[in-house]
């Protein structure tokens, strides 16, 4: 693996499978009374969050702590673009503190790439602007494999605001690497110009795509998009691109419904769908910890054999 995880494109097929397999092994820990491994004892992981994201930050924090790393939460909200302390100064501060890995969430696309120029530790992209969120894609792939037993040849529909979605970008890249077939479904205003170069299909018609989908991943519609003229009204969006019980019935029998959270119940996903047996939303959260453990563990050079011994 590379020293950093900035994009899902950084992962070869072998890398990605190694992360998923490692995560699977680490997931077994969660069933034990003592959930902690000594693997990263003495290593420091910094959670550098320029945007609020309690769930992602907590997930990384739990992952690092289960590997016995020292965790520093560095909340820098509002101090970047607003010309407080610069990203570079923050990087130099973390460098001086001896961070072995920096998990960064930032509102600007590419901020983790910039950070990687300025520090020696590993940088993990925990979501950058409208660019990527590679650990989300890894946990999504992990969840699909867990539920459906395979990734190769799976038909995955990713539905909603693709234009502004870092989850969609990372999922398209990773799922392509892993042999799944992705179809993006959105109103044309929420697909980027240039999407034709992505390794996936594109459709404007959710009802046409659902009957042949093994996985439907619903993306969150951000509140500011609702007022940004991308579609006429929230109700119209919901009618055309929301997943309700009627639409869910058109899915093949074993198909699953995913959502990266947080959900807008009643907008992109109906409550009865979110809470149905097809829904993997709670599993995704649990799997997030295992996958992030695997990523930190592999980036910081842990040995799988050592872990097995330590766990034994």
């Amino acid at each position: 693996m590379n020293r950093h995880l900035l994009s899902a494109a950084d992962l070869s097929r072998d890398d990605a499978l190694l992360v998923l397999d490692t995560a699977e092994e680490l997931a077994r820990l969660a069933d034990r009374p003592i959930k902690k491994l000594p693997t990263l004892r003495g290593r420091t992981v910094v959670n550098l969050f320029f945007e609020d994201s309690t769930r992602t930050r907590t997930s990384f924090e739990v992952a690092a702590k289960r590997l016995s790393a020292d965790v520093i939460n560095f909340s820098a909200k509002g101090s970047s673009v607003s010309k407080g302390e610069s990203l570079k100064d923050t990087a130099l501060t973390l460098e001086a503190m001896g961070a072995d890995a920096v998990v960064v969430r930032h509102g600007a696309s590419g901020a983790p790439h910039r950070l990687a120029n300025w520090i020696h530790g590993s940088v993990v992209n925990a979501g950058d602007g409208t660019h990527e969120h590679p650990t989300q894609a890894l946990l999504d792939a992990f969840t699909m494999r867990q539920r459906l037993g395979r990734l190769e040849g799976l038909q995955v529909a990713v539905v909603g605001d693709v234009l502004h979605s870092r989850v969609a970008r990372s999922n398209v890249l990773l799922l392509h690497t892993l042999g799944a077939d992705v179809t993006l479904v959105a109103p044309p205003t929420l697909l980027p110009v240039g999407v034709e170069a992505w390794p996936c299909a594109v459709s404007f018609d959710l009802d046409g795509v659902l009957p042949k989908s093994d996985v439907v991943m619903m993306l969150r519609v951000q509140r500011e998009r609702m007022h940004g003229g991308f579609f006429p009204t929230t109700r119209e969006y919901s009618r055309r691109y929301g997943l309700d019980a009627r639409r869910m019935a058109a899915l093949p029998e074993d198909a699953i419904v995913m959502h990266p959270g947080p959900m807008n119940r009643g907008v992109e996903i109906a409550a009865e769908v979110a809470d149905s047996v097809r829904s993997t939303i709670v599993e995704q959260v649990a799997n997030g910890v295992s996958v992030r453990m695997a990523v930190l563990y592999l980036l910081l050079g842990g040995q799988l054999a050592d872990t097995a011994e330590a766990a034994a």
Binding site: S80, V81, K83, S86, L87, K88, H106, G107, A108, S109, G110, A111, H113, R114, D128, G129, T130, H131, E132, R166, R169, P192, V193, G194, V195, E196, A197, W198
Partner: protein, 425 residues
């Protein structure tokens, strides 16, 4: 230092080797008494370069550039005249500010500084600035621009084009529809989709160019388009010229050389307005410059202090330095590719920009009687672009670390050497 020169072995416009004589600020046809000899064997002589688009940042942002440092960089790049853009602090929208910039240029003495006047008060796009007062000032302003901002109100643009007819002024339009580029970060296309950066569509430039060609034709005004960057813009300018309308255009060296693929590094040294475009756009710009559709190369030299570039992409300032690398980049993009010869370079980098700016004493062919504004170029040698060695106060060159062809050996401003042996004279 002597203002009398004998330049032996020099090749005007890349032609046959000859000797040029300089006396009292002009080219003469015989050996002036007491002249200094300069061995120019193998060097190409071009009329001193004229930049239609330079940001000297003074007054207001002297941390980025001053008239002194910017014009020294210009001389080192072979320029004998630059047009200083109006987006200073305060804005160059009254006679007092343009006269100040003009005088700072005179005092620095490295090259002529022709201030550009703002079209509208404070660049706000609401009310015409006192264009006539700036035209009649000591700075004799003929080029007016809200550069950095587009004059997007169609009625205001119409009035400005009409009004300037009284004193043969030109509007240098920064063609960018503001609504289509709200928050835009890079060219909209395959790369912006992949990088998750807000797209800047070609149509945002082309729609304004199309509109302003029609407006200029309707009122008989003169419009010049700053830094055209798309294949569609070239087509529109070609079409307007075929109609006989009074339309001119410039292209920057960086748009002739770099594509949006370099943005993948997220290094804001590549962040510029208008954004770097695709390889197809670069090819169309080169073809347009070669066939004369695009009249001029202009640098859009836009210095920024390090802290405005050492940031995440979205927070960084737009702009690149360009005065010291312009001729070399044009040599690489146009001469080495066979698209332009050196006479063509002289036309696009000196003669035509001087005509657009109505600069009588610049952009003249190197014949006896012409003002001795010239640059000597060693076309056969290459050099490494090292930002730390730049005379500009800023370091934001996108060509750092590249080896480029064509080295400036000497620059003469009205017979006085401003640069000798590639160094300030």
């Amino acid at each position: 230092m002597s203002n009398k020169w004998i330049l032996r072995g020099v090749r005007p416009l890349g032609g046959e080797a000859t000797t040029l004589y300089v006396d009292n600020g002009v080219l003469v046809d015989e050996d002036p008494v007491g002249a200094q000899e300069f061995d120019a064997h193998g060097l190409i002589a071009l009329p001193g370069l004229v930049d239609l688009h330079t940001h000297l940042r003074e007054p207001g942002r002297e941390d980025a550039e001053t008239v002194e440092t910017g014009t020294l960089a210009a001389a080192l790049g072979g320029f004998t005249a630059v047009h200083a853009m109006a987006n200073t602090e305060p804005v160059a929208d009254v006679a007092g500010v343009v006269e100040q910039v003009w005088r700072l240029g005179q005092d620095a003495g490295h090259c002529d500084v022709h201030p550009v006047g703002a079209v509208t008060v404070g660049l706000k796009g609401e009310q015409l600035a006192e264009l006539g007062a700036m035209a009649e000032s000591a700075a004799r302003v003929r080029v007016f621009s809200d550069d950095g901002k587009c004059v997007h109100d169609a009625m205001l643009m119409r009035r400005a084009l009409e009004y300037l007819r009284a004193f043969d002024g030109v509007i240098a339009q920064h063609a960018q529809d503001p609504r289509l580029t709200d928050g835009a970060q890079m060219n909209e296309g395959i790369e912006s989709a992949r990088l998750g950066l807000a797209g800047w569509p070609a149509v945002a430039e082309e729609a304004i160019i199309a509109r302003d060609c029609l407006l200029a034709a309707h009122v008989g005004g003169r419009v010049h388009f700053c830094h055209v960057s798309t294949a569609g813009s070239v087509e529109l300018v070609r079409w307007a010229k075929s109609k006989g309308w009074n339309v001119t255009a410039e292209v920057t060296p960086h748009h002739l050389f770099l594509t949006d693929e370099v943005v993948a590094s997220y290094d804001p040294v590549f962040k510029v307005n208008p954004p770097l475009r695709t390889a197809e756009d670069v090819a169309a710009l080169r073809a347009g410059l070669a066939d004369g559709t695009i009249d001029a190369v202009a640098t859009d030299h836009a210095p920024h202090p390090l802290e405005d570039k050492e940031t995440e992409w979205a927070a960084a300032a737009f702009g690149m330095t360009g005065l010291e690398t312009a001729l070399s980049v044009v040599a690489a993009a146009m001469v080495e590719t066979g698209l332009l010869d050196w006479a063509g370079v002289a036309d696009r980098m000196s003669i035509r920009p001087a005509q657009i700016g109505r600069l009588g004493s610049q952009g003249q062919l190197l014949t006896p009687g012409a003002p001795a504004n010239l640059v000597l170029v060693d076309a056969d040698s290459t050099w490494l672009v090292e930002p730390a060695h730049s005379a500009s106060r800023s370091r934001n060159t996108p060509f750092a670390g590249r080896t480029l062809p064509a080295r400036i050996v000497a620059t003469f401003l009205r017979g006085r050497a401003t640069v000798l042996d590639g160094k300030p004279a």
